[in-house]
Chain length 507, copies 2
């Protein structure tokens, strides 16, 4: 079985039918990118109209008789059993096409419309509620979303746990049961590690960091990572993201704080990691269900590998130190690289997920996982959810949540109906450690190379082991192929043990 | 008959069917805008795919049985005779919908595909040929385009002159015969005026103009013109343009020369004029055939009114002079405003249309009009066309064309198949003078206001007389309503007589 094996002519009709759908999705990405980067304030209503027309056209094509007619010779439309005559890759192409088609057609049109209205209203309310620090006005929306999610789960179907139906939207093949076997030891390990890491002072790198210099630093690192500016670009936005118009047009955004150098640097490297994945996909699968990431967990593994495994590595800070001194003499000045390293890797649990250190980060996810399971089982209402949120934060992280803004209202996901999404962040972290370990085995003196800011060997290894496969393999298969190991929490916990408490010298 | 009169319910089906087509067009505009502003170099192939898929979907909807079914109760699909029961505005809505539908359906799909390939290849070759200053390699493409245009004309149909079919694509209702009655006296008048204006030295405003300061100057003027930056934005591009995503998202681009202050200033004001039209359209007609400009000539009248009638007016230069002195002390320094005025309005025929003074500009158009008529009649091939081009330039403008780059290869239009487009530039100039004359009648002390850079009264008058009507009236009707006069060359020629030769004091 080879990645270069050509799809048989018999699948041509299906591929011809599905490729324009990929192109339509990429047009939606253009609209979304512009909305977050350059769109004038009053352009939002028109943008919603444009996105709605495009979404409707795309949906109509997915659920059309024509698509059903073209798909049906290849797979049993009721059971999903693929015609056995295909090669493994062809078979996966058909199966993944079916999986996507099944999700589109399983949701009744009336429900989809209701869902769109519901989440649009909820997101609008969430923004207000967060600004006003008033969870009570958002709670009824969340209750409605949870009710709708439980209905959605019935349409999508599941064999064991209803939460499985949601997981499958973001991390195909993942189940609640499997997650639990991974997350339970993870939780135990984090608890132990947090107990060891508590306390200690963080060296503070203060002052004002010129935004133009931060931009230049980010661009330098992106180039060294191998981000191809002929095939992509970087802009600024309120919330950093990566979006793909096509293999040769991958765009990232970043944001800067002029008092915190880490914000811009981390987000640039993080999105750069996502972008390398997108720029590294194999063109032969473009616009087919095999031509994009196999899961959000794998995607996040790429961003977190660069942001954390590389970007918080002692060797990285040793290598970047002279650049920092030269760009920001007033802030960095006489601080040595190990001080910067300790600054970046200080462990101190707080209420906010996105600014969490790497020891406590996954605990934020595990808490959300517990809450989401209860939502989907229908055993909790929105007001009780907040009590439980605050209780978990205190019990697991020792954090007293002072207000809803920095508590249950901090993330956009639930207001957007994205329940089942959070676990992919933790999986990304676990995968990223496994991949970095394998990269160290495969690339001689990787850490010395990182110290020299010579990142391309790592990028090439990721291209070969992850990027080019897109969705040709399922995520756990891919990780097994790339690392020789099965997904578990052990590599991550061993990594934490080796790294924390911080030893005050580069690794 | 009132602009606020509501369309009868009976047209609802048609409007529901046509509005998404307007939205789809506006998505194509987003793709086009990004292509010219921010797209990375290698993104072009993907962008072509996106545009092609979108164009195909839009075309399929126009020529669908569904559209025919929805349109047919309102108009005879063979003759274009509109059901007589409608109000005049309703009737025009149906007629204009029919006119657009007729153009889409008249062209056979196979021809449209051939045309797309032909013009794409020709544009590609034109760029190379222009760079290499080698017309011979482009000539065969132009011959093919001319042959195809003559075929297209047969599909579109015409009653008198085949060129009428092309004119109707850009300046609906305009005919070759009518143009000739307007352009003949225009040509005579320009010849006389050029004879008077020849000679004289141009004061030269030299030095380097900081691009950021040029940008700020442009933004200041745009704001004073009433361009709403909440409902639009400005960027830079190689060729300035205006594009509309919706009434609340109108985007313009500009370009700068750091040695020629006029390039950026003129293009900003020019595109600003286009943009005010788009921002001033009546929302009630949005995404219907009445909701956009009634012709390219009228659109150009808006840009040229601002660029030339205002932007080259003595009062404007008197008003802008202190700003210029303050922004560019090294360049402008002790020069007085009348020196700037003479610099801006110096008459000196050259080979290049886009940098022509306002006396000779229209002659560039009249030459192209003569050549295009001969193309469409099939009486000339591409190599002979160049000889004729050079001959006209010498006879009419006294310009010896030294090379093809600054001669017949200077414009993109013919390579893009845009034959019949050039006359709208001259019409825009004629309309702009008529409108400015009417504005002076309607707005007390307009020139004093211009001197104070108080442009909003003019913008409001244009909103009321032109912008809000969109395509509710045909262009010549609209001009008659706005100015009380019929289209002719006289106002333009009188304007030239009053202004040239330049009198060395503000008007």
């Amino acid at each position: 079985m080879s990645i270069t094996q050509l799809v048989r002519p018999s699948l041509d009709g299906l591929i011809q039918c599905i490729k324009p759908l990929g192109v339509l999705d990429s047009i939606a990405s253009v609209l979304g990118w512009d909305e977050e980067t350059w769109m004038p304030p009053n352009g939002i209503h028109r943008r919603s109209e444009q996105s709605a027309v495009l979404a409707q056209i795309t949906h109509e094509r997915w659920v059309s008789d024509e698509f059903r007619r073209v798909l049906s010779p290849h797979v049993d439309l009721n059971t999903g059993v693929v015609n056995p005559d295909y090669t493994p890759i062809e078979s996966r192409l058909v199966a993944e096409t079916y999986r996507q088609w099944r999700k589109k057609t399983a949701i009744p049109t009336a429900f989809a419309a209701r869902w769109a209205t519901l989440t649009s209203e909820a997101q609008h309310c969430w923004q207000t509620a967060r600004n006003q620090n008033d969870y009570a006005q958002f709670a009824p929306h969340l209750d409605k979303i949870v009710t709708a999610v439980r209905e959605k789960v019935q349409y999508l179907g599941y064999s064991d746990h209803p939460y499985d139906a949601l997981l499958d939207c973001f991390e195909p093949g993942m189940t609640t049961q499997r997650l639990t076997t991974i997350f339970d030891p993870l939780k135990q390990g984090i608890r132990q590690k947090l107990a060891q890491c508590s306390g200690g002072n963080r060296p503070y790198i203060s002052g004002v960091f010129d935004t133009n210099k931060q931009w230049d630093l980010g661009v330098m690192i992106l180039k060294k990572m191998g981000f191809d500016f002929n095939r992509g670009r970087q802009d600024q936005s309120a919330h950093p993201f990566t979006t793909t118009f096509g293999l040769n047009d991958v765009r990232i955004t970043t944001r800067f704080s002029d008092t915190d150098i880490l914000e811009g640097l981390s987000s640039t490297i993080h999105e750069g990691g996502h972008a390398l994945y997108e720029q590294g996909l194999d063109p032969q699968w473009a616009d087919t269900p095999l031509g994009s990431a196999c899961s959000l967990g794998i995607h996040e593994s790429q961003s977190r590998l660069w942001e954390v495994m590389v970007g918080r590595h002692a060797a990285f800070w040793q290598g970047i130190h002279p650049h920092m001194q030269s760009l920001f003499p007033n802030n960095v000045g006489s601080r040595d690289h190990s001080t910067l390293y300790r600054y970046v890797n200080h462990v101190s649990p707080g209420p906010i997920r996105v600014s969490a250190d790497e020891v406590s980060y996954n605990m934020h996810i595990l808490i959300r996982f517990e809450l989401e399971k209860q939502m989907v089982q229908g055993s909790i209402d929105a007001m009780a959810l907040r009590d439980l949120w605050n209780e978990y934060y205190y019990n697991e992280l020792g954090v007293r949540v002072c207000d809803d803004r920095t508590g249950i209202l901090q993330d956009v996901h639930w207001s957007a109906g994205l329940i089942g999404y959070f676990p992919t962040y933790a999986l990304g972290n676990l995968y990223s450690v496994m991949l970095f370990n394998a990269a160290k085995q495969a690339i001689p003196n990787l850490e010395t190379k990182i110290m020299a800011l010579d990142f391309l060997p790592l990028t090439r290894w990721l291209n070969q082991t992850i990027h080019r496969y897109g969705n040709v393999y399922a995520s756990e298969t891919l990780i097994q192929m790339a690392t020789g190991e099965s997904l578990s929490a052990s590599p991550f916990l061993n990594y934490l043990s080796d790294k924390y408490p911080i030893i005050d010298s580069p690794g």
